[in-house]
Symmetry: C2
Subunit: 194 residues, 2 copies
């Protein structure tokens, strides 16, 4: 029995990626079998190979897609450094909270990529980080920020912002806006911006 009404490649492909994303994020790439993914979508394992050449590529496509979406979603705002820093902090936290599985997977499963795939994802991530570095550099040049080392401050701010995803819950004590505002202030404090 194949090709039941309502099924088609345009629907099945995204459903497979969506199921793989959720399962990989929840249990880890190595712990999830192709059969589990297929069951989630209502297929036999063999059918997955109509949509991906292998499991490794399925993971890689998820990570690459996430990084490209992230870069596309973050435009290139202009304005004074302080306003751009504010924008970056708010965008980063909000985007991460809205794409928790993708973000989690991108940090956890990098090591499961083949070297070539790893390098490609790292390049995309570096390109995103460089946007923050440029803001810090501009602010430092104007004397508005006090940055001992641009690369280190970039990594420190991003690490702080990423931390939100490990504990924030929508039903929690703090509203999203409170979280955004406090992190904005902490990020400014880190680089001595008043």
């Amino acid at each position: 029995m194949a090709r039941r009404t309502g099924s088609s490649a345009e629907v099945t492909g995204p459903r497979i990626r969506s199921a793989a994303l959720r399962l990989f994020a929840r249990h880890g790439y190595a712990a999830v079998s192709m059969r589990q993914i297929a069951t989630e979508v209502g297929l036999q394992a063999g059918a997955l190979y109509l949509y991906t050449p292998d499991k490794q590529t399925l993971l890689y496509d998820l990570l690459r897609g996430h990084m490209e979406d992230l870069l596309a979603a973050y435009g290139a705002p202009d304005g004074p450094p302080e306003a751009r820093l504010r924008q970056f902090v708010r965008f980063h936290i909000a985007y991460n909270l809205d794409h928790a599985d993708e973000v989690f997977l991108s940090y956890m499963e990098l090591r499961n990529l083949e070297p070539a795939n790893f390098a490609a994802i790292e390049g995309l991530r570096r390109s995103y980080e460089d946007r923050l570095s440029q803001i810090l550099r501009d602010g430092a040049e104007r004397g508005e920020f006090h940055v001992a080392d641009v690369r280190l401050a970039t990594m420190a701010i991003i690490a702080m912002l990423n931390g939100v995803n490990t504990w924030y819950r929508q039903s929690g004590r703090l509203s999203r806006e409170e979280v955004l505002a406090i992190h904005e202030a902490m990020a400014k404090g880190m680089i001595g911006a008043r």
Copy 2:
């Protein structure tokens, strides 16, 4: 062939945990087989079960051992909040860099623990985090720190400090002392301590 000269339980047990730690940290718990661990130590897989009841307990013992070592290594310094914050920042970064595999594993593989084991490790971690929270609370009460939310600031500082392990290399551009000093300043800036 068994019990070759020089082998004994006192040596084999730690060697198994050491190999498991390195392999789990490098490839992930689910991706490492008991046979791989045994090979690393020069044993057959069956012999591992003289030293651990199962693979899950092996992971749990590694994580629990790490958290207990961490709590033991961090004494309970006293003094004014600013000095204790300085101590915490420096201790945390230095300890993490010196125990990179343990720290990495403790963050990555929590989800592979059974609920009861997960809860135990979370409790130990929370107990460590509370030490920083107490410093922030004391500083805020004295009016030396400006902390919008103690729990959030605790998580933010720890997230920032944890970030160091993802990029620091001994042969890198910055010395360990530079990294410590800059993070000390950033942590103070985050909570408005001058």
